[in-house]
Amino acid sequence: MASEIKEADHRASTSDSEAGNVDLLETNDIPGNSDNTLLVVSDSYADLNYVDINDSDIKSHRGTINALVKKKAKRGNSVTTADDGIAADANENNGRDDEDVSEHIDNTSGNNVENDSSEVSVDDSQDDCLEQNLADLSLQETEDIPVSHLIRSTSDSDYVNSLEWKQQRKHIFILSDSGKPIYSRHGSEDKLVTIMGVMQALVSFVQDSEKDNLRSIVAGDHKFVFMTRDHLTFVGISRGGESTQQLLLQLTYMYNQVISVLTHTTLTRIFKQHRNYDLRRPLSGAEKFFDNLLNLMDVEPGLLLTSVRCLPLDSSVREVISQTILQHAKVKDLVFALIIAQNQLVALVRMKRYHLHPMDLHLIINLINASESFKTAESWTPICLPKFDAGGFLQAHVSYLDEECQSCLLLLSVDIEAFYILSECKSRIKERLIRYNALEAINASLKKRSYSIQACSITDLRHFLYKARSTAQYTSPEFETPYHTKEEQERLFSLYYYLHDRIHTSGRPLKILFHVGQYETLLGWVTQGFELYAVFGPLVTKMTAIHAVNKLLRWIKREEDRLFILSSATF
């Protein structure tokens, strides 16, 4: 770990972190880290956005269904060579030359009020009145772009022409190459044919000239972000705190969700055959997964951090749970076995050599979170995990372990016929977990909820997000006063978005950022081992904040056994 300490001491030469103070930061030990990786560790942010699924970094870690199947075939001859070659050739497709050009059409027309350039404290200082003004202004701006007057106002399309629709904080659209609407977060996509046509026109206009890609448009306080993949165009429009990169990450999640339902193979085949295909047909019934995923993004920092939250549990209890799964689900072709409770990971057992990517895990969590149907009976459903293998489906055995439907067990296999075997595994696991009081422990932990910020006993620290990079897991306390209302939570999220963006902006990534806002003071600190985003009261000095985060790191270190899964169980 010596290198990491150096890393932390290595001074970030930014205006935000003065040399003298950085020395005070100590990182003797990085909490929550472990050499025993459970999930694929992607250094999320920068990579994820512009890189396709076939990211070579990930390829070496992730498995593919084909590799598993071929390996099975080989087993007969008892030859086992490296399977990565298969993995590579299974997915050689888009070697797209990404020579995107960022188009910034800054719509600074006369009615643009405030654009506070250098040291920004916009997010936290906007009061309601101003926000209202901006909303009204941006409405006019939208009309500057010849979009809204193209929409015929019939009675059906009232909603999409209403003020309410235009004032939504965030819009997400999915459309096909040929401009066919596929999904809209707000309002029926049917009624948005015209507006989607305009979006498609913008995208293809830029594409036609010089093979460029339209990436983003800034119009007043609205940001339009475009992402084109596999014949689909994803558009995110937000006046929230998200940066272009962060919106791209959200669009990437949406793309992954499409793949998760259809597989990359099917998606490309469909559009190869019929460019004009209405993709809503095969996606029908999956709309709620898109909606739910977007809702999850607003309340779950794990998606921004591409990491997962673990349910706090005594390490001994967690050990019992993963050992139980390990022993009673030792079945051929079972790739992942995991328990999820209220969007938190309880335990994960994986096949040797195969890792679960946090983005894939978020799709699994979303699947569970969005469907009530699993609560009625054991289910068997195909799911594609794009980071694992975008080319095919895994089969998921999904069941709840308790009457209250809190703990959900998922057994993911490549064997389409494995249901009955897995069903027996489930019965055995359930029986043991009840006998060892493990389900009780899970429920007790769920009832207690997470932990209070007061548990860390650091004055003036209001909230924080801590991500252990090597395990791709994060921890954060509950939302307490002043962040107990929905509005305040949204504001807190936009602070985190701001902090996260400032630190990770590709142009000038920072190591440490100290930011004094109107209502709180923020400290962001990123080393090779962790990312920490801390929110303090407004009057905290730089010194105090630095002492506080050091103390916080020591506290997390003490609690790491409970907050993180440090040992990885493999079949």
């Binding site: 009625t376 459903t381 095919g392 064997d415 389409i416």
Partner: protein
């Protein structure tokens, strides 16, 4: 006291039909004895078991309640290929859902070579005022495909019990008359059922999984 002459039978029943016709409601009414207004769409397929005693048999029905959504259509063969009975559910207030049954029957006839008990269910019979499919038409169609027919209401609990009972009777008949019906005697390790082993006939399973894995991992739509 366990009847020594009891034989046991395990049969797979698949429930097919369009989206929203009430497949899950019918199954939950039968298996769980309940009705819920807020049944959410099935994802993939749900698995239920139901045990009943009929004639000289302890029958264990393994019921696959499939999803009606288009995107799961390609999964259906996995369930009906091994099924001993198929419940074909339509909604009496939707003509389209009735026509969809014809597609299902065509598909079954084409792909299933083992004998299979068919049962047509016209669900939502409590919504008489919105009826679009007449009982006579449905009955006539059922006769033409050699299927049992019931109009059911999961809400009012009518017809469902009868339908499953008749299907079970036919399953027993099938089991007794057709040697390679694909139905297995119950071989259940969990219940110490020392008496039934004498009778358990090892039937040749026709439906060994034959398709290669790679194929199964891609959707066919």
């Amino acid at each position: 006291m366990i009847d020594l002459n009891m034989k046991s039978l395990e049969a797979k029943v698949v429930v097919l039909g369009s989206q929203g016709v009430g497949k899950t409601s019918v199954v939950i009414r039968y298996v769980g004895g309940m009705f819920s207004k807020a049944v959410s769409p099935t994802i993939g397929a749900s698995f239920f078991t139901y045990k009943l005693t009929l004639e000289q048999y302890r029958v264990k029905l393994q019921v696959w309640d499939t999803a009606g959504q288009e995107r799961f259509r390609s999964m259906a063969p996995m369930y009906y290929r091994k099924a001993n009975a198929a419940m074909l559910v339509y909604d009496i207030t939707s003509l389209e859902s009735f026509y969809d049954i014809k597609d299902w029957v065509k598909e079954l006839k084409k792909n299933v070579d083992t004998p299979i008990v068919l049962c047509l269910l016209g669900n939502k019979s409590d919504l008489e005022s919105g009826r679009k499919v007449s009982k006579e038409d449905a009955m006539e169609y059922a006769a033409s495909i050699d299927a049992l027919f019931y109009e059911t209401s999961a809400l009012k609990n009518t017809g469902i019990e009868d339908a499953f009972l008749q299907v079970s009777k036919q399953l027993i008949h099938l089991y007794e008359t057709v040697p390679n019906s694909g139905m297995g005697a119950v071989v259940n390790q969990h219940e110490p059922d020392m008496f039934s082993t004498e009778h358990s006939l090892k039937l040749p399973y026709k439906d060994e999984p034959t398709q290669p894995q790679a194929q199964s991992s891609s959707c066919q739509c």
